[in-house]
Each structure stands twice: as structure tokens, then as C-alpha cells.
Symmetry: C2
Subunit: 153 residues, 2 copies
DNA sequence: CGATATCCTAGGAAACCGGTAGGGATTTGT
DNA sequence: ACAAATCCCTACCGGTTTCCTAGGATATCG
């Protein structure tokens, strides 16, 4: 019962993109995969694939060729962690899919246990949907400033 | 991101045991693995292993030999689903374990993303800890009575 | 043209999962 | 004493998933 490394990487990549977009004014320059991977310590070719998924999902756009890279398309304030999880590792599902031809399994469909799984599933999704990329960026900046201060003391 | 079949089986087995214990008065007779597996449609040898885990965890006790079987030891009202999940598939952990020798990973330890994972983890555990075996038994009885009525109409 | 990028597809090692299997140990009933 | 029933321990196995690497095609800029 855990989230995949792939999701962690996807969030880190988007976090990195979001922070850079915040710094630059106007149309931000595309950030190449290489830089994102290095900054967030993600295996380069693996990061490439994850970025491709994020592009297909419409979260980022890409530009090929020299001086190319990826750009954040979605507004960080409306891009939720839940959406990223769905793209990176598939939707959160706590119960096995029910075989529609297995009567025994269908009989279990309305069991107390199944109800609990569904409840937990909704709880997780709601929690993940309540956090946006903008929230993460803001919180990360706070953390960074705090540790900076700590070192200053 | 889902719970294992093993956990589902563990809960079903305990549910079955709990219901039988509720019917009989006084010291209940031990229920053999075979009956539990048949009633809950769990592969017999697989169920055997799961029951062994539940015994090692102290949730049930077992009696060997003819007329043997397993008995519920813990009070269903205090046995939480969270405990069963921990035994059947290990604790719910939403973040990868941090390698204490990997400085780069440790630097991520206080990241916004890690904080989110921890938050979700606690949310799930709390939810699972708030449901007891007695709750499941009660709810399942309600469901069974309801479907009985449906067929009567 | 050549360097820098993304894009697409294909693997591959390792872990995990669901389940099976063999055989030993213990208890009960006859 | 013996057979049947039952739990107990360990190993294994086929399939899937996960994390990651690799090769090469394609596009863009200077």
C-alpha cells in the first residue's frame, strides 16, 4: 500500500517547473529534461518518460530541438496532486476489480468490507484533490526559507 | 495504490469467525480452516497461511488435530481493521523508506511532497483504525438482512 | 551541417503477489 | 495402536509490476 516512485518523480518535476515559472516574468523559456532531472535527482531517461506522460495529460507542453524543453501549461493553482497521481500511476483503487462474470465475486460487491474499501478510496482521493501544485510550491518555499534561517543563526 | 487480496482474505476470515462466535453461547468450538475457506471462497492452502499470520499476531488461537481449528481471541470490538492490514500486508506507508546514508534523499526528507505523503498515510491509518471487526460484522448483518427483505418482496 | 532536444518503442533485472505443494507434528475417535 | 483430521513450516513458481536503461527516429536552432 504505497505510492510509486514514478509519482514522486512526476510531482518533483512539476514542482521544479512551477518554481522556475514563478521566477521568470512573461513567457518562460522551456526547461530541458536534463535540467529537471539533475535538479531533482531523477534518472534522466526515466524522467524523460514521465515528462512525456505529463505532456499527454496536458499538464505541460514541449518544444523539440536545441533550446527546447518543457513548459508548464496548467495553472499550478488548479492542478491537483490527485490528477498527477492518476496520470503517473493510475487512479487510486483500493479494491480489486470485480469480475462481472463471477457471481461469487458479485455477491461480495455489497459487502461491508467492500464498502470500507470504497470509503477509504474516496478519503484518499479527496485528500489528494485538496492539494494543488501551487500549495506544494508555496510550502516548499517556506521550508527552504526556514532551513536558510536555521543556518544563519 | 491498492490493498492486497491477502488483506481482503484476512478480513473475510475474521469476519466469518466473528459471526460464528456471536451465534454460539459460551466457549465456541474451533472452526477448521477448511470451513472458513469454503464459506468465504478463499483458496484453502492460501487461507491456511493467512490464518497462521493472524495467530502469530495474537488475533486468533489454534487447536491442532481432529476437531481442531481456530478461535477468535481478540474482542471484535477492539480489533481494528488497521491492525489486520498491518499483519496481512505490512504497515501503510505512502513514502519510500529514506536511506539514512543517502544525503540527497535526506535533504528531501523535509520536502513539501514528503509532508503530503505523511499526511495521507496518517489519514488512511486513522480511517482504518476507526473501524473495528465488530463494526464490520454488524454492517454485514445489516446488509444480509436487507437483501433478504428484497427477495421477500 | 551539427549540436541539442524531445519522441517512441523495446527491453531487463528485481521485487512482489497470488497461489500451489510437500511433508511434518499434533490431536481425536475407534 | 491406528487412521483420520487438522494445523504447521518451508519452499517454490508463474505472472505482473516497478524502476530503470537503451537504441534510434525526429525536430529545431545556430
Amino acid at each position: 500500500m504505497k505510492f510509486s516512485q514514478r509519482t514522486e518523480y512526476a510531482l518533483r518535476a512539476l514542482l521544479e517547473l512551477g518554481r522556475r515559472a514563478g521566477e521568470a516574468d512573461g513567457e518562460p523559456a522551456p526547461v530541458p529534461n536534463r535540467e529537471i532531472a539533475a535538479a531533482q535527482r531523477i534518472p534522466e531517461r526515466f524522467c524523460e518518460q514521465i515528462l512525456a506522460d505529463l505532456r499527454r495529460a496536458g499538464f505541460i507542453s514541449s518544444q523539440r530541438g536545441a533550446c527546447g524543453g518543457v513548459r508548464l501549461v496548467r495553472d499550478p493553482a488548479t492542478l491537483t496532486v490527485s490528477e498527477v497521481v492518476d496520470v503517473a500511476e493510475g487512479p487510486v483503487v483500493t479494491q480489486a476489480c470485480l469480475d462481472p462474470f463471477d457471481d461469487a465475486a458479485r455477491a461480495q460487491a455489497h459487502s461491508a468490507i467492500q464498502e470500507l474499501w470504497l470509503d477509504v478510496q474516496i478519503t484518499i482521493r479527496d485528500r489528494l484533490a485538496s492539494v494543488t501544485l501551487a500549495d506544494l510550491i508555496k510550502r516548499q518555499d517556506e521550508l527552504d526559507r526556514t532551513s536558510y534561517l536555521v543556518f544563519q543563526i
